[in-house]
Point group: C2
Chain length 316, copies 2
């Protein structure tokens, strides 16, 4: 039995979009998987009723509080003890659920992950990862995209490992190509941080490092499956990618490719390096995005992502 | 009399595209401006002849060597003493020309600028600036885009000043809005570098600082005319912008806006903070780009850009 926890109150259109997404996900999850919704039981039941869905197919854990987007993440996580996020992480830490997903406050989700399930022993700093749509139809995984904005070279080195394990087990790539985002192809190019990180990554035995990749090369898929960078640069790249969708939209260009830059349609952003599957969805998540986020969380549990990361650290 | 020096041998399609661009520029420069071409005199004359243009309308300084793209910039600048770039910078340092432009080796151009005309007293680190096309039809100036990849906060502060002066005098904006590229709007957001830079920029009297700008907001023009960042992040943003043109092109999207991301069509990248107008063009510059680069160099001389920067530093 797999139990996937979902913050029913998280996101700009919660609980409606979350409940709709959970109903959609229900049709696609494994028969042994249970969806556990944390939130206002009456609202969740009512939304299920409106959709003609039997709410008994979910486990519902009633919570009376919501961490809002403008709440201070750490304070709210500690003070709103009956919020859907706080109760959800408590259940995750007590192994009552196997993974937890929310489209609510990113800050509170990160605080919750660090305070309760904590980093896997050996992980210097956890990271959040995102997918970049590629011209060849696939995606590339980029990390960190905002959790750790001042990265030492050894942290970047380890992000290569986290990204490789994620790509191998979640995306099914046997030997993912890991590249360092840099401003030149040659190994002596870059700032102090990337030059030092390149030295650590080069000739390493933990993952398949293919060298530097420049920002104009990351969308082809020709060079890398996993792109390693610090949380500041990664966040800039991701927001510029979001801008691409906006630009295309403003110009009324109907491009299948540019539409894939709409992060509201995506699943979620995994928090990698913490001791349980934790996925954060976009605040403006559609029901489809919530559905994908739930399936992504289930997938992380099924492939035993956390164990794979833990094992890889033991090997080092 | 204004004399604009042009490296006739610089760029992937030199000397042809350079000479064609110079001929086109000739029709648009002020009557008091002379174009001084550095390069192989016979080749330049022949190209003028083919175009039915009287080469005597140019000043031609014959040089016998070329710094190639794969030459080591510093070594080549010093050893190829009769190269178009080395001779050009020598003329610039001796005030025989008032500005120098090249689509050749960026590295050699930067070395030449730093070795010969040098930084303006008071400038901590020069920067290279680029223009980002905006959805509103205008552009925003972003700096640094690759010269100084490890920036201290005081350097970012000064980039705000350089960018503001550039936007005021070269782009005619009376009170340009200067923003710091960051990963959140709030002043406490960012990495150690941007948090400290924000403190220096906030409430400053040298230029109009409007706060942080995120990478998804830089293309609207709603927030900033000048975007300040370090050379690493700026280079990543610029290369991702180049990727946008490529993506649009691969998809055969004919968008006037996305076509403006084709940096081969642009003028050049000014080296700001050195003691003379120095402009570097894209290696694949078209004749139109060369023409724009020449007019941009003439414009910098006409508006006395260097004096304006020098005066602003005296005021500090």
């Amino acid at each position: 039995m797999i139990r996937i926890g979902i913050d029913a109150m998280g996101g700009d259109f919660a609980p409606k979009n979350v409940v709709m997404g959970a109903i959609q996900a229900f049709a696609r999850i494994q028969s042994k998987t249970r969806l556990v919704l944390f939130g206002d039981k009456a609202q969740i039941a009512a939304l299920c009723g409106e959709a003609g869905f039997d709410s008994a197919k979910f486990d519902i854990v009633h919570t009376s509080q919501v961490i809002e987007m403008n709440d201070h993440p750490a304070k709210a996580f500690q003070q709103k003890t009956d919020s859907s996020i706080t109760v959800g992480f408590s259940a995750l830490a007590k192994l009552r659920i196997d993974g937890f997903a929310s489209a609510g406050s990113t800050g509170a989700m990160l605080v919750g992950a660090m305070y309760t399930v904590k980093a896997i022993p050996g992980i210097i700093r956890p990271a959040i990862a995102s997918e970049i749509p590629l011209l060849n139809g696939g995606t590339a995984t980029i990390l960190d995209v905002g959790l750790n904005v001042d990265c030492k070279p050894d942290v970047l080195y380890q992000y290569g490992l986290l990204g490789a394990i994620y790509a191998r087990h979640m995306r099914g790539l046997e030997n993912p190509r890991v590249a360092l985002l840099n401003i030149g192809e040659e190994e002596e190019k870059g700032n102090l941080q990337t030059k030092e990180a390149h030295k650590l990554m080069k000739d390493n035995m933990d993952y398949h490092f293919v060298g530097n990749v420049e920002a104009n090369q990351i969308f082809s898929g020709d060079i890398a499956d996993v792109i390693v960078t610090d949380g500041f640069v990664g966040n800039v790249v991701l927001k510029q990618a979001e801008a691409i969708y906006h630009m295309s939209n403003v110009q009324k260009i109907d491009s299948e490719y540019f539409n894939r830059f709409n992060y509201e349609l995506y699943g979620g952003t995994p928090v990698l390096g913490v001791n349980a599957p934790v996925i954060i969805g976009h605040g403006a998540s559609s029901p489809k995005a919530i559905e994908n986020m739930i399936l992504q969380t289930e997938h992380a549990v099924q492939v035993r992502l956390i164990e794979k990361i833990t094992e890889s650290l033991d090997k080092e």
